[in-house]
Each structure stands twice: as structure tokens, then as C-alpha cells.
């Protein structure tokens, strides 16, 4: 099939008009149908993907390419393509999308509007991972904002309006700087001829081209542009001190949206680092590396400590995301082969594992209508299946050997130990704290004296199991056979670690 990437990206929004032709409570079926179809359509992407092609800065190595003239006067192209990094993220997005539809099964309020926004979000996320043109990338990046705003703002918890606008403003703040940086990169493109094509720009940089521009506020051009990009992406990751939107957004968002936030959205930031920010300015990256490692360590340790202090289960998981994303940053910052491979593997694994955690919080919240860790107790005796499933998910989050999280954290730490011993050792604390808050929370919820209010708590139901079990399978499978996913991105990332 031609134009397979366009199909995969735009299929979700094609059903939005159809939602209004269906009865209001059937919208979820349409959404489920199209996400499954999208998955099936995307299968040739994974089977036909040539794992030996590098991509990154080589236009010929990008696969399933599509290029159309869009705005000729500026040289903006509609340009899509995938390499090892993007294909992994596409897989993650499709899986999380499917899981999130199932997690939205109980949405009753304005169902059509919810799924319209949901599918628009899905298209925007897929688009970010395949866009090869900076303007196209920016467009998808921004289009994601307002469905997200409404999804949190309309269907969220009690403080949803505050959380939604905070998320919106934070991200926009970063992306406006990014827009200015994009214009600057385009205008002062190395080699004279201006282009928005990311791959073409990377290629020129690799050939020895540099961005020669005037000083900005007395600082060298490349550094300022680098920092502008960095802040834009760092807010999404989120990197300390830009992380404060995350706990609010996660806690107030409905379950499915928390899943998407943690599962896919956070990865966009690190994807942006790998695709645009760092390879475009390799020299500035070297200057920035030590600082980045420091930020990564702060993220890991500070996130874990915050998680330890939370009384709200969802907020605890939100902070654990901050901590786990710190590992991704550490791996990228180390810029060794293992480090970067581990970082992308961690992006995938964190996506699946945290999605699971949020789904499981959603299960208990739907029944008990609160999320205070101390408010439960002894649930293992009432809902044994739920307790068992949760235990697997928590073990995965801790990074138990045999689960996927272990492999990626191991890779990252071995990768970074070569170059940054002390920070790596401190980061190890994050894992210990991680075991601490996870097990402690598990113990308080499932063991101990049974809280009499929850004697009749309903067991996890079929739809909920359907959304969690596939993720458990992925986690265990990749824990035992991590190479099944590593082969997709290895070639690209080995090359990337060389050029950084």
C-alpha cells in the first residue's frame, strides 16, 4: 500500500465526522474500531521495516518516505518517514492508543466530543513521530495541545481547570521558544540554501556545516538556539524545574488520558532531543552534557523522593514518571552506545509500564472514588485478581529482573557508568527509593487490616483486564527477550551515539 504512513497518521481523525452520525453512546465502538484498524494498517510498517538502514541524518535511510510540496515559497514540505527511533515510538503510540480506548470505556459525559478529541490527539501524536519537516513537526506538536486541554478540562477531576490551563501554558511557553528556534535554524541553515527538512539539516551538520548566526543577547547563536529547543522539549519530558505541570495534569486527567500522557506524551520530549535538538548541535551538546547529567540525576532522585512523600496514589505514580524519565535523560546525556539504546528502550518500557500503573489506579478509583493510599487496606483478600495483576505491574515498575524495566535501566546505568561514575552511583538511589515507594504503597493498599468500607469491592472486570493484560505480556516478553525490540532501533542509535 502506498502512503502507508499518511494512512496510519490520519486514519484516526477520519472517523470524527462519523461519530456524530452514530448514537451518542456508540462513539466508543467507532473509536475502538478505528484504533484497531489503524493498528492493522500499520503492521506492514513493522514487518517491512529494514532494520539495517540507519536513517537519522541520511535521507536515503529513512523508510516509507512520503514527500509532497506544501508551501513552496518557504520550502515547507509535507514530508514523512521513519527510522529506528520513530518506528519504536509509533509502535508504542499504537499500543497505548488501543489501551486508552479501552480505559475510556466508562466515559459517559459528552462521549462523542471525548472521542473526537481523543482521536485528534492520536493523529497528532503519531504525526509528531513521523514528521521530517520542522514546520510539520511543530504543527503536530501544537495540535496536540488543545485536544489535551479539553480532555483534561472537561473530563478531568475536581481541579481539572487549573491543571488543564497549567499544562497548556507550560507547553506553549516551551513551544513558542521552539518556534523561534525553528525559524532561526531555517534562516541560518548551514550550507546557504534554507530548508526545514530535519534530515537534510542533520546531514549538513554531519558534513561539517555549522549554524553561523549573529550573537543573540551577547551569547553565541548556536547555544541560544540549542537552549530554546532544549527548554521546549524539556517541558514535555518533564525535566526539573519544568516538571510541576505533570503531577497536576496526571492527577486531574481521566485515567485514559493519564495513560496517554505518561505513555506517549512524555516521550515526545526525549524523542525531540534525539531527533532534532542534540544531533543538530553536537558541539553545543558536548558543552551542555555535564549540566544535562546533573539535571538527570536531580530528576531521578528528586522525583523518587517526591513519590515517596505522596499520599495520593496517582500523584505518586506521576512523580515516579519524573524519576523514570530521568533515567532516559541520563542515558541520552551519557551518549554511549548502551546509554542511548537503553534510553530508547526505557522510553518504550516506561510507556507500557506506567500506562499499566495508571490503568490500575483507575480501576480502584472507579470503585472507591478516592485515591488516598492510606484510605485502603487489605484489598488483597477482597480482590485477589486485581492484587495479583497490580503486583506484577509494581514489580515491573521497580525494575525486577525478568521484566522489561530491568533491562533498560541496566543498559542505561552501564552506559553512563563508563563516563559518569558518581552521577550513576547517585542515580542508583533512585532505584532503591523506587522499590521503597512502590512496595510501601502496595503493602498499605493490599495488605494489613481490611478496611470495612471496601468489603464488597468489585473485582477487576473484563474490559479492564483486556487493557492491562496485553501490557503485562509485553512487559514480561521484553524482559525475557529484549532483543525483539532492540533490533528495531539499534542500527539508528548506534550511529547516533557515534555522532554525538
Amino acid at each position: 500500500m502506498d502512503h502507508i504512513l499518511s494512512w496510519v497518521v490520519f486514519l484516526p481523525i477520519t472517523v470524527i465526522p462519523i461519530l456524530w452520525l452514530l448514537p451518542a453512546n456508540k462513539a466508543k465502538w467507532a473509536a475502538l474500531f478505528i484504533t484497531i484498524v489503524d493498528f492493522i494498517v500499520a503492521i506492514p510498517l513493522f514487518t517491512g521495516f529494514d532494520r539495517l538502514k540507519v536513517g537519522v541524518d541520511d535521507l536515503a535511510g529513512m523508510q516509507f518516505k512520503e514527500t509532497l510540496e506544501w508551501i513552496p515559497s518557504l520550502g515547507i514540505q509535507y514530508s514523512l518517514g521513519v527510522d529506528g527511533i520513530s518506528i519504536t515510538m509509533i509502535l508504542l503510540t499504537l499500543i497505548i492508543g488501543l489501551v486508552a480506548v479501552l480505559a475510556s470505556w466508562n466515559i459517559d459525559k459528552l462521549q462523542r466530543g471525548y472521542f473526537a478529541m481523543f482521536l485528534l490527539l492520536q493523529t497528532a501524536m503519531l504525526g509528531v513521530f513521523v514528521a521530517l519537516d520542522l514546520i510539520l513537526f511543530y504543527l503536530f506538536w501544537e495540535v496536540m495541545l488543545f485536544p489535551m486541554y479539553f480532555l483534561i478540562g472537561v473530563w478531568g477531576g475536581p481541579r481539572r481547570i487549573y491543571a488543564a490551563i497549567k499544562f497548556f501554558l507550560y507547553t506553549l511557553m516551551g513551544s513558542v521558544g521552539m518556534l523561534l528556534a525553528i525559524i532561526a535554524v531555517w534562516y541560518y541553515a548551514p550550507g546557504g540554501e534554507r530548508t526545514f527538512n530535519i534530515i537534510e539539516l542533520l546531514h549538513r551538520v554531519q558534513e561539517g556545516g555549522t549554524f553561523v548566526g549573529p550573537e543573540i543577547f551577547g551569547m553565541p547563536f548556536a547555544k541560544v538556539v540549542f537552549v530554546a529547543f532544549f527548554i521546549g522539549f524539556a517541558i514535555k519530558v518533564p525535566i526539573f524545574p519544568f516538571h510541576t505541570w505533570l503531577p497536576d495534569a496526571h492527577v486531574e486527567a481521566p485515567t485514559a488520558i493519564s495513560v496517554i500522557l505518561a505513555g506517549v506524551l512524555l516521550k515526545m520530549g526525549t524523542y525531540g532531543f534525539l531527533r532534532i535538538n542534540f544531533p543538530l548541535f553536537p558541539e553545543v551538546f558536548v558543552w551542555f552534557q555535564d549540566f544535562l547529567v546533573a539535571l538527570a540525576v536531580i530528576n531521578i532522585v528528586y522525583g523518587a523522593l517526591c513519590a515517596l512523600a505522596q499520599s495520593d496514589l496517582k500523584k505518586m505514580i506521576a512523580y515516579s514518571s519524573v524519576s523514570h524519565m530521568g533515567f532516559v535523560i541520563l542515558g541520552i546525556a551519557a551518549a554511549t552506545t548502551q546509554g542511548i539504546n537503553g534510553a530508547v528502550l526505557q522510553m518504550f518500557n516506561h510507556g507500557t509500564i506506567t500506562a499499566m500503573l495508571f490503568l490500575l489506579v483507575g480501576v480502584v478509583y472507579d470503585r472507591a472514588h478516592h485515591r488516598r493510599i492510606a484510605g485502603f487496606g487489605g484489598l488483597a483478600s477482597v480482590t485477589p485478581v486485581y492484587a495479583a495483576v497490580t503486583s506484577i505491574a509494581y514489580m515491573a515498575a521497580i525494575g525486577l529482573p525478568g521484566m522489561s524495566g530491568f533491562i533498560s535501566e541496566l543498559l542505561i546505568l552501564t552506559g553512563s557508568f563508563k563516563v559518569y561514575q558518581l552521577p550513576t552511583i547517585i542515580s542508583g538511589l533512585g532505584i532503591i527509593f523506587g522499590a521503597g515507594y512502590m512496595l510501601w504503597a502496595y503493602q498499605r493498599i493490599f495488605f494489613g487490616k481490611l478496611n470495612p468500607d471496601y468489603q464488597d469491592l468489585k473485582e477487576i472486570n473484563f474490559v479492564e483486564l483486556c487493557s492491562v493484560v496485553p501490557l503485562i505480556i509485553i512487559t514480561v516478553y521484553l524482559g525475557l527477550l529484549p532483543n525483539r525490540i532492540i533490533v528495531f532501533f539499534e542500527t539508528s542509535l548506534n550511529y547516533l551515539s557515534e555522532i554525538l
Binding site: 508551501i71 501544537e142 488543545f146 506553549l172 523561534l180 532561526a184
Partner: protein, 478 residues
């Protein structure tokens, strides 16, 4: 005298408007005209004006001994004015804040403003500039006072008059200084003479230019001549507010661009500096003041102030490209602002303009609210809407010139502006309504169609803006 007559053939649209002014003001004295619908005549006049401007092509010509300059620049802007006034008439039809019995006079005033704006886009002589500005200002004062629903509209109008005459006074003083420095009032010879004069770069040189700029800043409501704006916008009948927030502002911007167009290269740096400063202050003040507004018309007034600041970015770079992208943004700005005001007229039913009163309207009027939301997101400059593309180009021309501070301030401002636009959206879509939904059953559905007609091109231009870029590339001065 006879030698000037042939010039008239270059300004047919001005003549049409001139005749229209006479007809409308004398209408009640002309027998037989009473039974004719004034709206019909006015629409015909607008169409005739639009078509004649369209037919004139791209020939440029200096008229009346360098008093006026007609070129594709002035013609494109004039066509825009005809369209905007046409939309205003459509809004007046769907709104009852104005007394229907004085329609003849209102159309006479609008014709006068239109003629004034056409002068502003072509004026190349400082006295012509003053005439243009006053032709626009005087009828505006009256139009603001015509709201029969809003008791303090007379007060707002008086405030408007005072500020207007103050600004004109400053401007005339500035002009006299310029004349004293150079001995000429024609822009073409004024700038070279200023650059060559011994006073070049001295305080008096700046004072003269800034004072002359005051009158024009008043028209675009740039800081510090913006004080009239929120009051006048709030008090005026809503269609007039919509009109004032777009047309005279566009004319003022066009005039400023014309005013600076003839500067000689040595001056460009300081002039850029002056305009950048005004732009930064205007957008920042407009945005931060908008954050606290509770009345939707006042909110849009401040938003239009900050947009004037954004548009000044394109003027600050002082080149042809900048002017073209100002035109680009103005087209989109007109679309989104007119769409937003039409939505307000419909949703408020001409009575309650408090943002609170829009709570939960998504439930009863989803299509209208979605259209309005698109206009607001576009005003905030979010992709994939036209407003983003407009800002994108303005950012580009500014970065091209290396005005990083201006780019950074504008960037921060577009984030701030999101907050209040989203506040309105939040009220309509997220908030629950307490009490009864307003009854929309008696209202015509024309406004809904109109807002959708604004929203569609906003989205289309946000995704594929080639046609509009090509159109802006045709906008040439001289």
C-alpha cells in the same frame, strides 16, 4: 484647476464614496428616496467601490501634486475596507443596539469613514494624512455614542473625542516641527531632507517624528494612546465595535507603513528602534490588561491593542517583505475578529456581555461555540489556525533583521494571550451553566453561517496558506 481633473479617473472608488456621502446625508430631503431601503443602496455602493478598485489593476500613480499615491498597496487595503464595512452592515442587521430610524445617517457616517480610510492608505502628504485621520475620527465619535442600550456610551464617546483631539493636536505640533526642520510636507522629500538636516539624530528630530506618530498611534490604539479604546469598544454598539477594532486600525497601520516607506537607509535603525519599542510596550500592556477583563467586549478591545503591537513588528523591520506580511496577517486578523464579534452578537443577544453569561453555551449552540472557539484559538496564534501562520511570518521578518528582544517579548506575549482567550473558551465549553439557557429560537441563523464562513478559511489558511501568500506578494507600494 483643469489640470487636476484627469487625476479623478484614478480614484473612481473615492468618487463613488463621495457621492454616497451626499446621498445618505441628504436622503431625507430628496423626494422619493424615503421608500428605498438604505441598506440596499449602501451595499450597492460598497460593491461598486470594491469592483472599481479591483478593476484598477496594479498601476501606480502619484496624484494631485504628490498629495495622494494610488498603487496596488492602497487598492488592496481599500478592497479590504469595503468587505469589512459590508460585514459590519450584516452585523447591524442582526443586532438591535442601534436605532433603525437613523440608518440613513449611520450609513452616511460609515461612508465618510470609508472615504477617510481610503485617504489614509494613499496619503503621501502630511496634511492629507491629517485630513484622512480626521475624516475617520469624527464620524467614529458619533457612532460610538449611538448605543441605545448602554447609558454611558455618550461618556465613552466624549472620552474618545478628548483623546482624539489631544492626539491630533500633538500630531499637528509634530508636523509643524517637521515642516520647520525640512521645509516640506511631502513624505517623498521629507525623509531625505531630515537625514540631510543638521538636526539629524538630535532630540528635536526624534520628538518631531514621535509626535507625528502620535496621531497615527491613536488610530491603531497603540500605547500610550490606547486609553479610549476599552471604553469606546465597550460602549459602542457591538457591530460598530467590531468595525472599529478592524477597519480604522488597519487604515492606521497602512498609514504608518506609508509614512515610513520613504525613509532613507541611514534612518532605518533608529526608526526600527522607535517602532519596536512601541510594539513591545503595546503588546505587553494590552495582553496583561486583558488578563483581568470580565467583559467580553473589553477583553477583545485589549486583545486588539495587543494585536496592534504584534502587527507593528512587521512595520518595525521597515521593508517591503515586512509590509507584505502585515497585509497577510491583517486579512487573517479581520477574519478572526469579525467572526468573534459576530459570535458575540449572537450569543449575547445584544444584552449581556459579561464573560460569565456565556457559561455552558456549548450545550445549546454547539456549532456557534465551535466556530467562536476556532476564532479565539486563532487569535491566540495556535496552529493549525491562520493566526499562527500570520504570527509565524511576523516572527520570521523580525528574526531576519536580528531583533531578538522583540521576538522574545512577542513570544512571551503570545503565551500570555492564550490565557485569556482560553478563559473564554473554558467558560463556554467547560463551565456548567447556573440558571436558564438563553432562548435563541427567535434569532436568525445567518450569524452562525457567517461565523462558520470565517472559521473555515481560518483553518484552511492555517494548513495551506499559499493563496494568501501569493496575494500578499502583489501588495506593492509605489
Amino acid at each position: 484647476m483643469t489640470s487636476t481633473l484627469p487625476y479623478l479617473s484614478y480614484i473612481p472608488a473615492h468618487l463613488i464614496m463621495g457621492v454616497a456621502i451626499l446621498v445618505f446625508f441628504l436622503a431625507k430631503a430628496i423626494p422619493g428616496l424615503k421608500n428605498v431601503s438604505p441598506v440596499g443602496i449602501f451595499v450597492l455602493v460598497l460593491i461598486a467601490g470594491f469592483v472599481t478598485e479591483l478593476m484598477m489593476g496594479s498601476e501606480s500613480k502619484s496624484l494631485f501634486f504628490n498629495m495622494l499615491q494610488v498603487d496596488s498597496y492602497s487598492r488592496f487595503y481599500n478592497q479590504l475596507f469595503f468587505i469589512i464595512i459590508g460585514v459590519t452592515v450584516l452585523m447591524m442587521k442582526n443586532n438591535d443596539e442601534m436605532n433603525r430610524s437613523i440608518e440613513w445617517e449611520v450609513f452616511g457616517l460609515l461612508s465618510t469613514i470609508c472615504l477617510g480610510m481610503m485617504m489614509m492608505t494613499s496619503a503621501t502628504h502630511l496634511l492629507m494624512i491629517v485630513v484622512g485621520i480626521e475624516l475617520v475620527s469624527l464620524p467614529s465619535y458619533i457612532l460610538v455614542a449611538l448605543n441605545r442600550r448602554f447609558s454611558t456610551s455618550k461618556e465613552a464617546s466624549l472620552k474618545y473625542v478628548l483623546f482624539g483631539s489631544f492626539a491630533t493636536g500633538i500630531m499637528l505640533y509634530g508636523i509643524s516641527l517637521l515642516f520647520g526642520l525640512t521645509g516640506t510636507l511631502q513624505l517623498k522629500s521629507l525623509w531625505p531632507a531630515l537625514a540631510a538636516s543638521p538636526n539629524f539624530g538630535t532630540p528635536i528630530y526624534y520628538i518631531a517624528i514621535i509626535m507625528t506618530l502620535a496621531g497615527m498611534s491613536f488610530k491603531i490604539a497603540a500605547v500610550p494612546f490606547h486609553f479610549w479604546c476599552p471604553d469606546a469598544y465597550q460602549a459602542a454598539p457591538t457591530p460598530i465595535t467590531a468595525f472599529l477594532s478592524v477597519a480604522p486600525k488597519v487604515a492606521g497601520l497602512a498609514l504608518i507603513m506609508r509614512f515610513f516607506a520613504d525613509h532613507v537607509p541611514v534612518q532605518s535603525e533608529q526608526l526600527s528602534m522607535i517602532v519596536s519599542l512601541i510594539a513591545m510596550i503595546t503588546m505587553t500592556l494590552g495582553n496583561f490588561a486583558a488578563l483581568r477583563q470580565k467583559d467580553i467586549k473589553r477583553l477583545l478591545a485589549y486583545s486588539s491593542i495587543s494585536h496592534a503591537g504584534f502587527l507593528l513588528m512587521g512595520i518595525a523591520v521597515m521593508n517591503e517583505v515586512g509590509r507584505q506580511y502585515v497585509f497577510f496577517y491583517i486579512v487573517i486578523y479581520a477574519l478572526m475578529n469579525m467572526g468573534a464579534f459576530m459570535a458575540i452578537i449572537y450569543l449575547s443577544q445584544g444584552r449581556n456581555f459579561e464573560i460569565k453569561s456565556f457559561a455552558g453555551l456549548i450545550k445549546s449552540k454547539p456549532v456557534m461555540v465551535v466556530g467562536f472557539t476556532i476564532c479565539l484559538f486563532s487569535l491566540a496564534g495556535l496552529p493549525p489556525f491562520g493566526g499562527f501562520v500570520g504570527k509565524f511570518y511576523l516572527f520570521w521578518v523580525v528574526i531576519e533583521k536580528g531583533f531578538w528582544a522583540l521576538a522574545a517579548v512577542a513570544g512571551v506575549n503570545s503565551v500570555v494571550s492564550l490565557y485569556y482567550y482560553v478563559g473564554v473558551i473554558k467558560t463556554m465549553i467547560i463551565d456548567e451553566r447556573e440558571g436558564q439557557m438563553p432562548d435563541f429560537s427567535t434569532q436568525s441563523s445567518v450569524p452562525i453561517g457567517f461565523v462558520i464562513l470565517c472559521a473555515i478559511p481560518i483553518v484552511v489558511f492555517g494548513l495551506y496558506w499559499n493563496p494568501l501568500v501569493n496575494l500578499s506578494a502583489l501588495v506593492h507600494m509605489f
